[in-house]
């Protein structure tokens, strides 16, 4: 689905705002999630599917996934376009796959499950690169199919979102589609 420049700009602003306040927002969200036991159901402003918790989680995970392919100076702008791309991807998923993916994020976001299952006991924003690498290794090699499935889904979503963007093509030497006369 095409997005208007206006809505893209709006979401960009809201994303930057989110980034700036992420540390404070995270601790509040984490507290409220642990009290309520569940996270918000509604999409974050400017997004169709991803919720603010999901954005915070992905904002911690994606830089680790993209490191080596994206320079640290460019990471923020890549992160923004990747989050939008993941959102666009999810909005076109079947309702069943959409729901499964949100359940995966619930597991990652809810402190009751995040700590025991990922080894990340604090908030995602406070997780170090090593913490995140350790979580990914743990899920990839888990005895539980559900976690291996989750690892697979996370990586596929992230990589599709990143390398679908023209900004990622220089790194992989892809000149882009030919121009038709």
């Amino acid at each position: 689905m095409p997005h208007t420049a206006q809505s893209a700009e709006f979401s960009r602003r809201s994303f930057l705002k989110l980034s700036a306040t992420s540390a404070a927002t995270l601790s509040m969200l984490s507290l409220s999630a642990s009290l309520s036991g569940c996270s918000s159901d509604s999409a974050s402003t400017g997004f169709s599917v991803l919720r603010s918790d999901d954005l915070l989680c992905l904002s911690a995970l994606l830089p680790v996934l993209y490191s080596g392919a994206v320079s640290s100076e460019q990471m923020n702008s890549h992160l923004h376009s990747a989050l939008r791309a993941i959102d666009n991807n999810l909005v076109n998923f079947s309702p069943a796959m959409h729901k499964l993916t949100l359940q995966l994020f619930d597991v990652l976001n809810n402190p009751l499950t995040r700590g025991p299952l990922t080894g990340v006991w604090g908030t995602w924003a406070k997780a170090s690169t090593a913490d995140i690498q350790s979580f990914l290794t743990r899920w990839e090699n888990s005895r539980f199919d559900l976690l291996k499935k989750g690892h697979n889904a996370l990586l596929q979503l992230a990589m599709l979102a990143h390398y679908g963007q023209p900004s990622a093509w220089q790194h992989c030497g892809y000149p882009g589609p030919p121009v038709l006369q």
Partner: protein, 531 residues
């Protein structure tokens, strides 16, 4: 800008093409024949039946996208043109299943390979699955007719470097290889068949059989999902559909009821059995959705000193069947070797890894070649096989169970691919598996492959060919339909798609579906007009 869009021109000329997402009330429709699905089986049937004067209505759950929309960008193509927005997977999430979902079905996004059904497959069906009247000689004129109709010819242009690896490696090792016949006319060798052909060179159903049906007064209703058949007294009485939203994801709230003299299901593997399951169609031998096959595919990447540019050029033009039938249909599982096109997003998900590992693999994309082995599942009792189930919301999911017999084929295929790649001059080969990486010589590759833990999620697996699940067989205990594609228990219901196949095909299935469904439609016409 100057590229013509014949489908949009047809709509302007007055074709009966309707977008169900725009409905503002419920709808009741009538037709002589209603066909669910506009892919290879549905559209081929629609063309023949409408040419004979029948009023044909095609129902398609996906959106209408035409050449004007095809921008050769992966994210849009995957989201809009593939089942579940490219999110379709086996139930365990370990196998990505690429199936089309738009007007034209999978023919819109396939890689154009067009093979006749191998004679070994047809003989196996007759011998093991009580399929009659579908021998090589009976089908030959149908293959010839459809090949002419769809411009199927071996690709005359030199293969791109990605495909050339198979030829070079097989020649060095004295293995069989051949040129792939493709269904194209005026192909510009772009390489974007999987994202919708932007110049209408691919002879998909969007530019051939659907226009032919619409020119004969047929009609098309898209963004409408066939929900269930209403059945009474051994006959289908009506088809209930839900209008979808513009994305084709959620129901819009409006229903469409269709009454027809005859009903044809052509939603393809997974979707066709799902309609029967939702309809509680009679299934006394519990065959519906069973024995669904995938041509389960594993991958081997290789790097070359010279550029491969695997994102450009006809995606598939060379194949090898050297390992396909060596032990007949009863021995160890056989496989076909081909290559996939490698555009960045697809490549990144296949090559796997993250961070520095993924970044290094992707940085080499222009020098990367990929080979795939398509395992011929369903011929041996010990083969992997799948069962279509319904989720709580009524949508289907495939529970596909791998077996040691099939894993053995995966391991042998890793060996074959690495051998061919090194023989073709690869500097490094990577059997695509979570515990593997690039190695620089064949001995290391073979040691690596022999030591791999072949299990779900670790070995990267995919599928682009869903077959079976509503098998044809003259023995009602073995199949959902007879060899004419007519449902064993419902006389006015036919199935015309790849779900009819009692096993996988052993070749990319589109031409098998075209020819079979043309033959079945011809039989159906004889039944409608006995005089």
């Amino acid at each position: 800008m100057s590229i013509p869009d014949p489908f949009l021109q047809g709509i302007h000329s007055g074709w009966q093409v309707h977008n169900a997402s725009l409905l503002d009330n419920d709808l009741q429709l009538e037709a002589d024949v209603v066909i669910v699905g506009s892919g290879a089986g549905g559209a081929t049937s629609a063309e023949l039946l409408s040419a004979a004067g029948l009023r044909v209505l095609i129902i398609e759950e996906g959106p209408l996208r035409t050449s004007t929309d095809f921008k050769m960008h992966e994210p849009e193509a995957y989201s809009e043109l593939y089942q579940e927005g490219m999110g379709r997977m086996s139930k365990d999430g370990a196998i990505t299943i690429m199936q089309g979902r738009a007007v034209g079905g999978t023919t819109l996004i396939n890689w154009t390979s067009s093979f006749r059904t191998p004679p070994e497959t047809l003989e196996h069906w007759a011998r093991e699955h009580a399929v009659s009247g579908l021998d090589k000689d009976t089908l030959r004129p149908w293959f010839e007719r459809l090949e002419q109709r769809l411009g199927v010819e071996p690709w005359r242009v030199p293969a791109n470097a990605n495909n050339e690896v198979i030829k070079r490696g097989c020649e060095a090792l004295d293995l069989d290889w051949a040129v792939i016949p493709r269904n194209v006319r005026g192909c510009a060798n772009l390489g974007y068949c999987g994202m919708g052909c932007p110049i209408n060179a691919k002879q998909s159903m969007l530019v051939t059989s659907i226009p032919a049906c619409l020119n004969k007064g047929g009609s098309l209703l898209y963004l409408a999902r066939a929900e269930r058949l209403m059945i009474d007294k051994d006959r289908v009485q009506q088809l209930q559909c839900h209008a979808l939203d513009a994305r084709g994801v959620e129901r819009s709230g409006h229903k469409i009821i269709i009454r027809a003299k005859h009903y044809i299901l052509a939603g393809g593997g997974i979707n066709t059995p799902a309609i029967l399951l939702r309809s509680n169609a009679p299934d006394p031998h519990q065959r519906c959705g069973k024995r669904t096959f995938l041509h389960t595919t594993n991958f081997s990447a290789a790097q070359f000193a010279d550029p491969v540019n695997p994102f450009y050029g006809a995606p598939q033009s060379i194949y090898s069947d050297h390992f396909q039938w060596r032990d007949g249909t009863s021995g160890p599982i056989g496989y076909k070797l081909e290559v996939p096109p490698l555009h960045p997003a697809f490549a990144a998900t296949i090559l796997g890894g993250y961070g520095a590992v993924s970044a290094q693999r992707m940085a080499q994309l222009p020098n990367t070649h990929m080979m795939i082995a398509l395992l011929r599942d369903g011929f041996h009792p010990a083969s992997a096989s799948g069962t279509v189930e319904l989720r709580s919301d009524g949508s289907p999911v495939l529970d596909y169970q791998m077996t040691p017999y099939t894993w053995d084929g995966i391991r042998r295929a890793y060996h074959s691919m690495a051998e061919i790649q090194f023989a073709a001059g690869a500097t490094r080969v990577f059997p695509v598996h979570a515990d593997a990486d690039y190695v620089t010589d064949l001995t290391s590759a073979k040691n690596l492959i022999d030591g791999l833990d072949l299990s779900l999620y670790r070995a990267r697996l995919g599928s682009a060919h869903v077959m079976g699940g509503c098998a044809m067989s003259d023995n009602a205990k073995q199949g959902v339909t007879n060899s004419l594609g007519v449902h064993h228990q419902l006389e006015n219901l036919s199935i015309h798609d790849g779900s009819l196949f009692p096993t996988s095909i052993g070749a990319n299935p589109q031409l098998s579906i075209y020819a079979l469904c043309a033959l079945l439609s011809n039989n159906l016409l004889q039944r409608f007009t006995p005089n």
